[in-house]
């Protein structure tokens, strides 16, 4: 069983020490993520969903509790480039072409020019940016920038892909498309995914499990199973079970918002 676990969070607490008063961002959160699983974290602002994601990515250190990714610390996994992270902004280097942006992690890792370009070209195809290899980032639309950011996060072939509201700033149609791309990438690569989102519909459409969180202090309210058939498509949203799950998720979410 432990072999099948991609990540395990146990009794995790994180306190932001502020001036005069401390903010409890996470309080005794426990969560297991299976290998290849797609998990969404959802909840109102201040519920700690992004904090939890940043702890998994070794961008934050917990105050208490343990985090293990494949039995190792997030730091060890990060140093081995086993973690991919996509942020709300694409955060591309404006002075590099799309190709060189996607190849950046491999370049930092010391991969040869030939290897990293071959890998970057394959990823460009995977995320649907063919033809834009030489473009500057500022020549891309918001959706295309996020595609490039996803490709960059996948460049080191991570086991764990962490996404922090990556589609929050996009229009609905672009968002639908990128949701489907993400579903397809998940199917193809078998990477474990943790997605932070504000949209219960996005969470239901993509996830195996949906973790509903509540604020003050940030903790897990409930974990919903999402047994909708795979592969997922935009047609998945026409299933009655989809609407049932959205309704159930919304009910749980409202409990969290009641405390806001």
């Amino acid at each position: 069983m432990a072999e099948a676990l991609s990540a395990e969070v146990r009794d995790l607490s994180l306190v932001y020490r502020g001036r005069g008063r401390d903010v409890i961002a996470l309080s005794e959160v426990s969560l297991g993520i299976a290998r290849g699983e797609f998990v969404s974290l959802i909840g109102p602002s201040g519920c700690g969903k992004s904090t939890l994601l940043r702890v998994l990515g070794d961008l934050l250190t917990p105050t208490q509790g343990t985090v293990a990714i494949k039995g190792r610390t997030p730091r060890a996994e990060r140093l081995d480039r086993r973690i991919g992270f996509v942020f709300q902004e694409a955060a591309l280097l404006e002075w590099r072409s799309v190709l060189d942006n996607i190849a950046l992690p491999l370049e930092l890792h010391g991969a040869s020019r030939r290897d990293r370009e071959a890998r970057a070209r394959a990823l460009i195809e995977l995320v649907g940016l063919t033809g834009f290899e030489a473009a500057w980032p500022r020549q891309l639309s918001g959706g295309m920038r996020q595609r490039a950011a996803i490709a960059r996060a996948l460049s080191t072939e991570p086991d764990l892909l962490l996404l922090d509201e990556p589609f929050g700033a996009l229009d609905q149609i672009t968002r639908d498309r990128l949701n489907m791309e993400l579903a397809r990438i998940h199917e193809v690569t078998g990477v474990s995914v943790v997605l932070v989102t504000h949209s219960i519909r996005e969470a239901v459409l993509l996830s195996d499990r949906i973790v509903v969180m509540t604020p003050r202090p940030g903790r897990i309210e409930r974990i919903l199973d999402d047994p909708l058939p795979r592969p997922r498509s935009l047609g998945t949203r026409l299933l009655p079970a989809y609407e049932d799950l959205v309704r159930a998720g919304s009910r749980e979410l409202e409990k969290g918002y009641a405390n806001v």
């Binding site: 990515g57 070794d58 961008l59 990060r78 140093l79 081995d80 480039r81 973690i83 991919g84 992270f85 942020f87 709300q88 902004e89 955060a91 280097l93 404006e94 002075w95 072409s97 950046l104 992690p105 370049e107 930092l108 890792h109 995320v127 649907g128 940016l129 063919t130 033809g131 834009f132 030489a134 473009a135 500057w136 500022r138 020549q139 639309s141 959706g143 295309m144 595609r147 960059r152 080191t156 672009t174 498309r177 791309e181």
Partner: protein, 275 residues
């Protein structure tokens, strides 16, 4: 299936040279026209209104004075250009180094910045005699004055530039386990370049001024020396020629730096021009 099929592939901006020259010609012809009109009006006014040459020499008189001493003016201009360039390079390099230290050490920045800013308010004409006493009567002291002027803008802009990186991009480098050196050369330095060029463009115009001011204080060659000696002998057309030459030099230096900016910061420089 993807939005890449909706738009044509985008190539890097590489317009052919002939197009770019046409573009330059189209943008600069009004300025050329005004310049020609100004010179013609000036020439006409000097003759028609009988303005005395020592008050305002005519363009033709200035040109004649310049042509009478082409080797002398060229030699002196070359010396000033060398002083300005060497001072610019040395001062900018030292400023960049110190700015980098400030960006990485809050202690150094907080400790030194107040004094640096205070020193920056010293007028160059006041510090020039002191520097000449320290560095002697040769070219070295002129270079030192210019370097003194170039130092502060670059130190401040380098520090600001190195601190101006995108915090999410820093997270990307952290996730990718980049070393501090990789983070410096692949993220913070490129992020700083637009600021560095703001400093360099300031410096490059200051550098000609610095060299000439230093020559005013003490020199036996250079454009500043020519201006001083022609002033004493009231050889005004030649003084004007030297002044216009120094202005031309400043413009030329500025254009060189602007060109370097286009080469080193194409993603930024190309953003500032209309498509």
């Amino acid at each position: 299936m993807s939005d890449s099929t909706l738009a044509a592939p985008v190539a890097r901006r590489t317009a052919p040279l002939s197009h770019r020259l046409l573009d330059v010609a189209e943008r600069s012809w009004p300025a050329v026209l005004i310049l020609v009109a100004l010179i013609a009006g000036w020439e006409w006014a000097c003759a028609a209104l009988g303005i005395k040459p020592y008050i305002l020499p005519s363009p033709s008189a200035i040109l004649t004075a310049a042509l009478n001493d082409v080797p002398g003016l060229a030699r002196n201009a070359g010396i000033t250009a060398w002083e300005a360039t060497a001072g610019f390079v040395i001062g900018s390099a030292l400023g960049a180094l110190l700015g980098t230290a400030f960006a990485y050490s809050r202690f150094l920045a907080r400790g030194f910045l107040p004094f640096i800013i205070a020193a920056n308010t010293i007028p160059v004409v006041a510090i020039a005699p002191i520097i000449i006493i320290w560095f002697g009567h040769g070219i070295g002291s002129k270079i030192a004055v210019t370097a003194f002027l170039s130092f502060f803008p670059l130190a401040l802009n380098m520090m600001k530039g190195l601190q101006s990186y995108d915090r999410t991009v820093a997270d990307v480098f952290h996730i990718a386990a980049a070393s501090p050196l990789q983070t410096f050369f692949k993220m913070r330095l490129p992020s700083a370049l637009p600021y560095v060029f703001v400093g360099l463009k300031l410096n490059v115009t200051f550098s000609v001024i610095g060299a000439i001011v230093a020559e005013f204080v003490q020199a036996d060659r250079g454009l500043g020396f020519v201006i001083m000696t022609t002033y004493r002998t009231m050889a005004m057309p030649k003084l004007w020629a030297a002044m216009l030459l120094s202005a031309l030099m400043g413009i030329l230096f500025f254009l060189v730096v602007a060109m370097l900016e286009r080469i080193f910061v194409p993603w930024h420089a190309s953003m500032s021009t209309d498509p």
